[in-house]
Amino acid sequence: MRTSPSLLSLTIDSAVLNLSNIADLSSLPDHIVVDLFLRTLRAGKLNERVLKLFIATGKDEVFSLIRALNIRATVIPVLPTTIKDDEIDIVIGAVRSDLTSFMNEWRPMFSRFHLIIVKDPDLKEELKIPEGFNLDVYEKPHMDQVVGSSTSVFFSGYACRYFGYLVSRKKYIISVDDDCLPARDPKGFVVDAVAHHITNLTTPATPFFFNTLYDPFAEGSDFVRGYPFSLRTGVKCALSCGLWLNLADHDAPTQALKAKQRNSRYVDAVMTVPAGSLVPISGINIAFDREVVGPALVPALKLAGEGKFRWETMEDIWSGLCVKVVCDHLGLGVKTGLPYVWRTDRGDPIASLKKEWEGVKLMEEVVPFFQSVRLPREATTVEDCVVEVANAAKERLGLTDPVFARAAKAMLDWVNLWKSVAYISSSSPAV
């Protein structure tokens, strides 16, 4: 004869039937939560809300079960792309050691993909990374092994991510600073920055004529009257720069002056930066086609007082100007605008300004330099273009400040490094 069910068992069964009325499971003992979870699965009652309920309990057994059974929350939103998940690497430069909340917040968007986490070689503490991701972690020993020590290419601070770009074997790279979290759009929906960057990279860019309705390939949009038809196919988009809500990417003097200013304006647009027009490309939230422009993102400009806050760096700005010049020369596109990320408050702009203000001054030389760079017709590959820019930098800026001479050398070393180390899929041409 079957034993009659215990009171506990009946209660759990009842709970399964009433899951829609339950808001919080964290007060339940571990073994009951596990039992409830298994019975929920058996009853076919697991949906996203219920899954979130169980995850919110924070119980290790629940996480183990989720991993073991390969249960995944749906990605929001699902933008139709022709990209396969295995064509993408998400590269995170770890400037801080505890990545737990960062990774957990991004989990719904990141968990589909392979991640490369690169630890700032100056960081002493062990990295803390939560479970449940498909990732590779690189630290100083790896860098020494791959790159050797006799190179002026630097991977310290925010530039550590470039090592990830170098060793990646994927076509597309998405990179976000470790103090950025998913943003919400004005309707309250979480922005899937990854999917959005992919959309930007896989739809054409239109650098030769400005479309006043912004991205003509966006849903509900198109080219306006007066836009030449021959320019409507567009060109390949090589780089997608996203933006930031809350702490925008201002320099230290600006943020110090407007201490309370936070960016709350969500501009619902993506647009192509016109050819010939230079732009400060922030490294905080970017994505690019590694196969097409990989070598052009250069870890080259290291400021004398460079630090661990973006206010104390200009490496991404230099890199971005190089990429734009190369893209303009090779007929590739650079988009800017969506997606947004939420950049958390961190650091003190006044302290940064006291420590490092040269960067701001150097831009007075850097921008006119890049505006004047003319690449010869014979430079038809990205590597050739970068070499030309490096040589021009050495010639025209080398004597102004030693930081430029070092940057030029780093660029040349980087191209050599890229040629010897980097994996480029043989099936796809450089441009």
Binding site: F210, F223, R225, L231, L243, N263, D268, S277
Partner: protein, 366 residues
């Protein structure tokens, strides 16, 4: 779903900015009923109505507006033989209004454009936003990824050189449209139901060297800085092309602005565009333009103005010369257009002699 605003009273500013320095130019062939909706925003300003089509028809202007109205007879009388440069049966005739105005700023709007609502539901005072755009600098030499740095809550991003942060004077403010977007005929035919519902909360400077399609539906400019370049060409009756008036003016204007170091902004404000014109009629008008623009765009992209062209008029005459040299081979129309461009400048200078007193009274309504 975009809808026009209804509660415009509440949004009208207490003190209308530039009320004695700005004229509103409106071309019309139908009626001016749309002005009722704009009344709280427009009433403080002087209107210049350019009546297209049959001059014997009376166009009623709603009570309470201070205006001057010109029909074809007036245009012929005032310009004499030079009236040939002003189009007939096309909204391009509006540029006559620019010429005859005595003010520093012009705002022009089509008679099928109404007050739009922002995402919070508030009525948008398009004129006020245009004025803000024109009174703050532009930044054409380096792209700011956070768009207009002079807007409330925005600024220049890291990496933007401080020496470029003063910007240059803004010559043109190009607004956008919710509901019926400004598509060409082929796109309208393929997507007859598409409506623009995306409110993009940004103003930005179009970088130097980049051309754009300038739409005349919702446009403001500094007449003193760029007025003579705003010639809307030969369109409509007796001409092989239509719906390229504002495009032509926009390309000329941008080339000249780039040469003289002036800025062109695009983005906010939005108006609500209510009428979708007939795409088949549009196709007939635009047809030649669709082919010609393939030649016209490279022409403007490569146009170089000599250093001694230091005024808008000089730049424009030089452009007219280049149009005759390089585009006549596309079609004899461009010969005529080049001549009309020269006539336009002559007429402009006649009506706007330099050294004339700054404060001239408005033209009187008839």
């Amino acid at each position: 779903m975009a809808e026009p605003a209804t509660a415009t009273e509440a949004a009208a500013p207490a003190v209308p900015q530039l009320k004695d320095e700005l004229d509103i130019v409106i071309p019309t062939i139908r009626n001016l009923e749309f002005l009722e909706m704009w009344r709280p925003f427009f009433q403080p300003y002087h209107l210049i109505i350019v009546q297209d089509g049959d001059p014997s028809k009376t166009i009623k202007v709603p009570d309470g507006f201070d205006y001057e109205l010109y029909n074809r007879n007036d245009i012929n009388r005032i310009l004499g033989p030079k009236a040939s440069c002003i189009s007939f049966k096309d909204s391009a005739c509006r540029c006559f209004g620019y010429m005859v105005s005595k003010k520093k700023y012009i705002f022009t709007i089509d008679d099928d454009c109404f007050v739009a609502k922002d995402p919070s539901g508030k009525a948008i005072n398009a004129l006020q936003q245009h004025i803000k755009n024109l009174l703050s600098p532009s930044t054409p030499f380096f792209f700011n990824t956070l768009y207009d740095p002079y807007r409330e809550g925005a600024d220049f991003v890291r990496g933007y050189p401080f020496s470029l942060r003063e910007g240059v004077p803004t010559a043109v403010s190009h607004g956008l449209w919710l509901n019926i977007p400004d598509y060409d005929a082929p796109t309208q035919l393929v997507k007859p139901l598409e409506r623009n519902t995306r409110y993009v909360d940004a103003v930005q400077t179009i970088p130097k060297g980049a051309l754009f399609p300038m739409c005349g539906m919702n446009l403001a400019f500094d007449r003193e800085l760029i007025g003579p370049a705003m010639y809307f060409g030969l369109m409509g009756d007796g001409q092989p092309i239509g719906r390229y008036d504002d495009m032509w003016a926009g390309w000329c204007t941008k080339v000249i602005c780039d040469h003289l170091g002036l800025g062109v902004k695009t983005g906010l404000p939005y108006i609500y565009h209510s009428k979708a014109s007939n795409p088949f009629v549009n196709l007939k008008k635009e047809y030649k333009g669709i082919f010609w623009q393939e030649e016209i765009i490279p022409f403007f992209q490569q146009a170089v103005l000599p250093k001694d062209c230091t005024t808008v008029q000089k730049c424009y005459i030089e452009l007219a010369k280049q149009v005759k040299d390089k585009l006549s081979k596309v079609d004899p129309y461009f010969d005529k257009l080049a001549e009309a461009m020269v006539t336009w400048i002559a007429a402009w200078d006649e009506l706007n002699p330099t050294g004339a007193a700054a404060a001239l009274p408005n033209g009187k309504a008839k």
